[in-house]
Symmetry: D2
Subunit: 140 residues, 4 copies
């Protein structure tokens, strides 16, 4: 009867690990998985926001307010990895994403980010038509 939180679609991209992503431990540097999260996020927005090309020029900003990341197994240079991204924590002026980074079927890293929805000066705003359409498209 009361509304369960809606569930959102998952979107996957693949990436090839570069030397640029790794460090002298021979594995991907821990901060660079957050870059992979961003690539997953961009892929998600391109998949479900029809007007995504105008988001940046029209002042849409999604600054990160929080990130959590658990490192299970390391990725290495030249490996092909998959980033699975899904919307979550949709609120009035913020939303989040959860990420799973895999190599083949093996889970390497998982994490979450939360984002504010702001204009280009950093001022938070309520969701407008643009975001509501994006969220509707992403629902299962």
């Amino acid at each position: 009867l009361d509304q369960a939180s809606p569930s959102y679609r998952t979107h996957a991209i693949t990436l090839d690990v570069l030397y640029a992503d790794t460090d002298a431990m021979g594995i991907v540097y821990y901060a660079n998985y957050l870059r992979f999260f961003e690539a997953g996020r961009l892929g998600y927005i391109c998949a479900f926001a029809e007007d995504h090309a105008r988001w940046v020029p029209e002042g849409v900003r999604l600054p990160v307010t929080q990130v959590n990341c658990r490192y299970r197994r390391p990725a290495q240079v030249f490996e092909r990895i998959t980033v699975e991204t899904v919307l979550q924590n949709v609120k009035r002026a913020s939303f989040g994403f959860a990420y799973r980074i895999l190599r083949g079927g093996e889970l390497l890293v998982e994490g979450e980010t939360d984002h504010a929805y702001t204009d280009e000066t950093g001022r938070v705003r309520r969701f407008d038509e643009r975001i509501l359409r994006f969220l509707a498209n992403a629902r299962q």
Copy 2:
């Protein structure tokens, strides 16, 4: 009666924010605060491990198993920031650090990392004399 967890000293470093650290939102890119955490961590180890110069050549590795980060206010290019680092979560074969990034007295970002203690092949090992001396030096 029961043992309170020991408390550790805090160590601070200062950094100047480069364009390399920022992104097109005009502020430090969210993953680059993890680089600042690493700089704080390296400063901490250099302050309290007398033999720190031999850690890497002698096979000490401290891979990150988890990171959490909350972004309060953004840092910008050319600003001088402080990274305060303190040991925490000391266990049998792992420990963690907590970080606070400040500009003047203002808190910008705070976070935590957890680390395994491994050899250069990534195999976890129990703390040896080297680590125990480091931990003892860092205690208040």
Copy 3:
């Protein structure tokens, strides 16, 4: 009559510019085009070296000895760019690549890298069967 230097095939990849690639000037940070060069290089090796998946595990290293880069026009976040890569300067134990980064038909950045061919300890070696096959595959 005398041998003209052989000419090699060009290989192109496309990339989407992330916030991670940009800086507070609102454009791609100058060092990150060298990351794009690496992505072009990896694409080139994957296209023309049949055994590329074994290069890293079997100790092939191609450390950069020189890079030059001219910046004509900047790339911006969310833009799709193309990296065109071509082999050049093939010598006895070294070779190079030339790169052109384009957005649509517009040239943004061009540059070159030179590489030594070494083992995993950094010792230079003469070209072996592996490299000769790669070079032959890349010739027009």
Copy 4:
């Protein structure tokens, strides 16, 4: 009598190499020396421009138009390196820097960058009082 090109002072900073700077070859990733160049450049500007804190807020931009870099010997994680920076190629609306990266007395990497002097929209401008004072301060 004939004008020699004026000679400028050299400014040195020291840096500690982080894992963030390295890659899976166990050495500093080639693009990250350009980050070290930027740190040297920032140190230079802070040393010789009295009003450097207002450069960014007041719209001074110095986009890179060209970079060259020769890699002699690699730097490794936890090493302390020195970046020596010196002005050169001073023209009407552009100038350059030359860099030498050293470990102890040993030369690791050397390179040069050229920069346009622009406003925040990227429009080139002639040198004003601000830049002329900076150049005068930097002269030997």
